[in-house]
């Protein structure tokens, strides 16, 4: 129990830090601290927590659906597929409303992830390390297509923004889509049992009366929507969906009815922490949270990879 108190305190501390630091000082600025918080600091803090929480949840769903701990949306081509969708809609209808772009990106992300699941069904389960490798290569292929298109139509700049998640551009009026993640998270919680059952495998899920295909599709839709939301508003954040669920699973197992809220909160906290580090490391300049998370997340992933053998399949 004390663990949760400490966790809650840490999150509150992170929020407080995030609200108080930035290029403009909260106390001496002419702009007024209330205005600064409302327009810039609060949106930024909320965006980091929402994006992080959403991606961590998406990671859980992907891991349960393919029964492999070393997978996450970033290792299943989901963000690349979303970018492909965004590129296509940007080329085809540059003036389309944001929600239309969003929807196209989500649909593309869903198709890309569905293809990955198809692929995953053909990868031998005997070696759990193989699937993330396949996912990386698959993401690489999609990425090559995206880069090639962006290059040939001179949209590399857009691509850079989508590929590298950061929160410096987040202000009031430019992040509100992310609140959609809160809705999706609530939806996911109602599915918690079903997703745990997915993790038992297709046969077990079917013999418990779960419509396996439908549940996977539903989970997939949520993952795609979350990833697309994050890519469109702040850009891709690697490893969040991998690192956070793995740590929570190590600490308290995989019964999602109990754990999903913890996963979401920790994901939010982790990304917020990365954003704060990014703001501080070369103050007053900023380093994207995605960069910080890529380095820290990769380090944690490596640790997980090599700490895994004790725990059977990981």
């Amino acid at each position: 129990m004390t663990r949760w108190i400490w966790g809650g305190a840490a999150l509150i501390a992170l929020v407080a830090i995030s609200l108080s630091i930035g290029a403009a000082s909260l106390w001496t600025s002419d702009l007024g601290s209330g205005w600064l918080i409302a327009v810039s600091r609060f949106p930024r803090t909320a965006a980091a927590i929402l994006a992080g929480g959403g991606l961590a949840l998406a990671g859980v769903v992907v891991q349960q659906a393919v029964q492999n701990r070393f997978v996450e949306p970033g290792l299943s081509g989901t963000p690349e597929a979303a970018m492909l969708g965004l590129l296509v809609i940007t080329l085809w209808a540059p003036g389309a409303a944001l929600w239309i772009k969003m929807a196209v990106a989500a649909l593309a992300a869903m198709a890309g992830t569905a293809l990955f699941l198809k692929l995953a069904a053909h990868v031998p389960r005997s070696d759990p390390m193989l699937l993330p490798l396949v996912g990386l290569i698959y993401a690489g292929i999609l990425g090559a297509v995206v880069v090639w298109i962006a290059w040939s139509v001179d949209l590399m700049q857009y691509l850079g923004v989508w590929q590298m998640g950061e929160f410096s551009g987040v202000v009031q009026g430019r992040y509100e889509l992310l609140w959609g993640i809160a809705v999706l998270a609530a939806l996911l919680y109602t599915l918690a049992d079903r997703i745990t059952i997915l993790g038992l495998g297709a046969d077990a899920a079917r013999s418990l009366g779960l419509d396996y295909g439908q549940t996977v599709a539903l989970g997939l839709a949520v993952v795609a929507a979350i990833t697309a939301l994050v890519v469109v508003t702040v850009g891709a954040l690697p490893f969040v969906g991998l690192v956070v669920p793995n740590i929570i699973s190590r600490l308290c197992g995989d019964n999602l009815r109990r754990n999903l809220p913890v996963v979401a909160v920790c994901g939010g906290g982790a990304v917020l922490a990365a954003d704060i580090v990014g703001r501080l490391v070369r103050f007053p300049y900023e380093v994207p949270a995605a960069t910080i998370f890529a380095i820290a997340g990769a380090a944690v992933f490596l640790w997980l990879l090599h700490a895994a053998p004790k725990a059977g399949n990981g």
Binding site: Q64, Q67, N68, R69, R125, P128, A192, D193, T196, I197, G199, L200, G201, D203, A204, R206, S207, L208, G209, L210, D211, S249, R250, G253, D254, N255, R257, A311, G312, N313, G314
Partner: protein, 253 residues
């Protein structure tokens, strides 16, 4: 009663089962026997609705298995498959509790909790309840998964090689438990079980369905099917027989 009505199964270009026609009675234990690759597990999966036949149909208590609603089917058939790898970190109690999920869909009642306790007790898992499934030994894991299937409390229980990982004591306990469950009466549960241990089949099974090369080789009361001449043809090797106080034992010669 399960009526298997001219069922065939093809996977890609390979025929697995050809025109299987057989009946599995509701009371008693029915053992599925046959050499490796005869199609025993495939038939079990078909009967459980986990795979769809290429031709034919399977009617369970008057209803086509493949037309039942998922939830409905899960309340009538519990399956123990051979695959018992688990990547999720669940405790034994969590795992067994999921056996009740078809009944409560996420809102467990007292009755559900009682049945879970009963399942844990019955399979000697009370001491292991808080342990993570992945930390168990092969036999303990097998018991946990069997308890989960048992907790589903369905009129039909299908088990694919449940004895493979069990020591002699738990193997006997399980068979005895299945025997009691399946005695004729209003509460009788149908048990269909794939076994490789012919003596377990000989001692416990009431009916035997023998498969060879994807077809029915023999079906009927155990005593009629488990004779040395028939077993010899079924497994392409000679069989001897010993009569004991408990019943008839067979051994390959």
């Amino acid at each position: 009663m399960i009526e298997i009505d001219d069922v065939s199964l093809r996977v890609r270009d390979t025929g697995i089962l050809h025109g299987i026609a057989a009946q599995v009675p509701r009371d008693g234990i029915t053992a599925l026997i046959g050499p490796n690759g005869a199609g025993k597990s495939s038939l079990l999966h078909l009967c459980a609705g986990l795979t769809t036949p290429s031709a034919g149909r399977i009617v369970l208590d008057g209803e086509d298995v493949h037309r039942m609603a998922h939830r409905d089917r899960a309340r009538r058939i519990a399956v123990l498959t051979q695959a018992q790898a688990l990547t999720s970190r669940l405790t034994v109690k969590d795992l067994v509790s999921f056996g009740r999920w078809p009944h409560h869909q996420g809102r467990p009642r007292d009755e559900d909790r009682q049945i879970v306790e009963e399942a844990l007790r019955l399979f000697d898992l009370l001491g292991l309840a808080p342990r993570q499934v992945e930390t168990l030994s092969g036999g303990q894991k097998a018991r946990a998964f069997t308890a989960m299937a048992w907790a589903q409390s369905t009129p039909w229980l299908f088990l694919d090689e449940p004895l493979a990982a069990l020591d002699p004591r738990f193997a006997r306990d399980l068979m005895a438990q299945l025997h009691v469950m399946s005695r004729p009466g209003p509460e009788a549960r149908g048990v269909l079980i794939v076994v490789h241990d012919l003596n377990a089949a000989a001692l416990w099974a009431d009916h035997v369905l023998a498969l060879k090369d994807g077809g029915v080789f023999a079906a009927g009361p155990a005593a009629e099917v488990m004779t040395p001449p028939r077993l010899s043809t079924l497994f392409d090797t000679g069989f001897g027989v010993v009569e004991t106080k408990r019943g008839r034992l067979v051994y390959p010669e």
